[in-house]
């Protein structure tokens, strides 16, 4: 894809600890196009959040980006320091956190915080800034935005706070928004509202989203593309519908198969045995091999990136054969036969 607004190439982030060097992000590459939503999926400790933080240059010692590039609008963000990075952050790329109270200051009114955020990058009057803040709140579907500007964060519900956090991220119409588990703490009906707004915003404003989550169901209904991470590496990537319908990496297949909603009630769920390895003590070669039913002798060596149709990849010696010849626009019934 040449029209990518954000390109991450071979990104490596490591943490120096007493237990040794932890490779939290170990050679992650992906691209996001204008107005597209990339789902970055993985379980705890897979490195998905650290990837998001690395893109924004939010890694602090003992963590360090030791290699790779993050190209945004032709600039490599990993080379930017201090003030130069601050110019980019919030203006061209922004972040939404899981807990909106990480973004919002509890003792300042919403309006005060948003006006400060506008004026941090644009030299405009407070009045103009207030207008832009109000428009941003309206854009994310907050009713009576003018009054909300005078509210304190504690006066809003969890869902409303997360909308405010998204509105702040949108203030400077950034090319990319990194969202780290933004709906995990919300109720289902409120999550549905936010996902609908995000899809609409991506389509209407052309903002690209990197949606970091552990929830496959959210990714499958929201994202255009998907990257599955395991122990710091991308193990599978491709168009979301294709990957979900016919996973090629055994880990992706195992994750999808263990979702209860896709099985006859009361039946034994296919489970991935064992638990995720500690980054301090990774097995040689493929990190997933000890839990993998398809593992063979080659798995003690680092697996190659295999390329398939529609730009799909899998990091595996023994990828799963595709289940059907019409990978696009599959329905839930076809997926069930696949598992």
């Amino acid at each position: 894809m040449s029209d990518a607004v954000l390109r991450v190439k071979d990104l490596q982030t490591q943490f120096q600890t007493r237990a040794g060097v932890l490779k939290a992000v170990d050679g992650v590459s992906f691209e996001v196009g204008r107005g597209r939503i990339l789902g970055l999926v993985g379980e705890s400790g897979s490195g998905k959040s650290v990837t998001g933080y690395s893109i924004l240059g939010l890694i602090e010692p003992p963590g360090r980006i030791v290699g790779g590039e993050v190209i945004l609008n032709g600039k490599d963000l990993t080379r930017l320091k201090g003030e130069a990075m601050r110019q980019v952050r919030g203006a061209q790329i922004a972040m939404v956190f899981q807990d909106p109270m990480m973004t919002l200051n509890p003792v300042l009114k919403i309006g005060t915080q948003m006006i400060a955020a506008v004026r941090a990058h644009d030299n405009v009057s407070r009045k103009v800034a207030r207008g832009r803040a109000r428009d941003a709140l309206a854009k994310v579907g907050i009713p009576s935005p003018e009054e909300r500007l005078d509210a304190y964060p504690h006066q809003l519900s969890g869902g409303m706070r997360q909308r405010v956090a998204i509105a702040i991220a949108l203030l400077h119409s950034p090319a990319v928004i990194i969202a780290d588990e933004p709906t995990t703490a919300l109720d289902v009906s409120i999550q549905g509202q936010i996902l609908a707004e995000v899809r609409r915003l991506a389509d209407e404003t052309g903002t690209a989203f990197v949606w970091v989550t552990h929830d496959l169901a959210v990714v499958s209904s929201l994202a255009d593309d998907i990257c599955v991470m395991y122990a710091g590496r991308v193990v599978e990537s491709g168009p979301a519908a294709d990957v979900i319908a016919s996973p090629r990496h055994p880990y992706t297949a195992g994750l999808l198969a263990s979702v209860p909603a896709e099985h006859e009630p009361g039946t034994k769920l296919p489970q991935v045995p064992g638990s995720a390895p500690s980054l301090a003590n990774l097995p040689p070669g493929c990190a997933f091999a000890p839990r993998c039913a398809k593992a063979g002798p080659a798995c003690t060596t680092t697996p190659p990136v295999q390329h398939f149709e529609h730009g799909r990849t899998a990091l595996c010696h023994y990828p799963i054969e595709p289940v059907s010849c019409q990978p696009l626009s599959l329905t839930s019934t076809t997926y069930r036969s696949a598992s």
Partner: protein, 334 residues
């Protein structure tokens, strides 16, 4: 239908916000506001037969955890009664709640908070059964080893501390602790919500095995419709303190009746459906401090009429074993 093991009979729970001394003086002088009351659970009735698992589903503030805690004897109801095998599960003693049975046990959501970090897990599991003379203290060690094996942990782990275990393993320990009391009824409050997807499946499989082997009865509380569908025989959907729909699992999922249930199903993202147009429920969940009049769901309901604002719809039978609290089933909303 076999006799009910658990009988929840018109139960309500109210929490009154404790006022501080300043507010009490202000109230004496006639200046303060009235004490605020949260109506967490309002007039809920439900029976659970032996061997049955009933799922309680709802969003935050719907009262599902409060109801679960009353069943487990942690809270006593403000009104109504909860009978387990015809005997109340708990009684109030002044401001304290005294639990009257060990046959109901609870498993909590967060296995990081529910295990004492300073006590070896073997001692945690043995504490209850030794205190209640279910097992003699010199047999406790082999009893614990047996239980750990049963929940899929190496019995030699019993000398370890909680921090040496992963989330999934800790949840297994919590299950072993509950089973140690030889319960007939388990109350599981979001037991897999904090676990990774691949670990979730392991714990759900364990629960289904134990249920079959030990003939357990269960109340399974979750916000995850997929998980509840998988493990429950019947499902109760709760909204702001009331049960709005109760039905056998397969029928509920095939053909939901209440507008809230339908809306909830619509807004849940699902794997395998592909990119979808969300049709989310409009509006916020109201605060249980100030619930709407009549049907609690009416401000968000697309079918609401004037009657919904006036009258609370009763949970009425709409078919064999099926109940729904909606005026649409009983003469319309006008």
């Amino acid at each position: 239908m076999p006799a009910a093991l658990l009988d929840i009979d018109h139960v309500s729970k109210r929490f009154v916000k404790q006022s501080n001394i300043g507010e009490r003086i202000a109230a004496l002088l006639g200046a303060g506001q009235k004490a605020e009351t949260v109506r967490a659970v309002t007039d809920v009735s439900l029976t659970v037969a032996k061997g049955e698992v009933v799922g309680l589903v709802g969003e935050s503030g719907c009262g599902k955890s409060t109801l679960g805690r009353m069943v487990a004897g942690i809270y006593t109801p403000s009104d109504g009664k909860i009978l387990f095998d015809k005997v109340p599960v708990a009684r109030s003693q002044g401001r304290r709640t005294q639990k009257l049975t060990t046959r109901v046990q609870m498993i909590h959501q967060d296995p990081f908070a529910s295990l004492n970090p300073r006590i070896r897990i073997g001692d945690t599991v043995a504490e209850g059964p030794v205190a209640h003379s279910i097992v003699r203290s010199r047999e406790a060690d082999s009893y614990v080893a047996d239980l750990l094996g049963r929940v899929g942990l190496d019995p030699s782990y019993r000398r370890r501390f909680p921090h040496q275990f992963s989330g999934g393993q800790r949840q297994r320990i919590a299950i072993a602790r509950a089973l140690a009391m030889k319960p007939d009824l388990l109350v599981l409050d979001e037991p897999v919500a904090s676990l990774d997807v691949s670990i979730q499946a392991q714990v759900l499989n364990l629960f289904m095995d134990l249920r079959r082997d030990l003939d357990l009865t269960g109340i399974f509380i979750s916000h995850d419709l997929g998980v509840v569908r998988h493990v429950s025989d019947r499902v109760a959907i709760m909204y702001l303190g009331r049960i709005v729909e109760l039905a056998p699992t397969s029928e509920l999922y095939a053909n939901p009746n209440h507008p809230y249930t339908r809306a909830l199903f619509e807004s849940v993202p699902r794997v395998g459906v592909g990119r979808k147009d969300f049709r989310p429920i409009a509006g916020e969940i109201p605060s249980p401090l100030h619930p709407p009049s009549g049907c609690h769901f009416h401000p968000r309901c697309p079918f609401a009429g004037p009657r919904c604002k006036r009258e609370t719809p009763p949970l009425a039978a709409i078919g064999p074993g099926r109940f729904s609290a909606c005026h649409l089933n009983t003469g319309g909303t006008d």
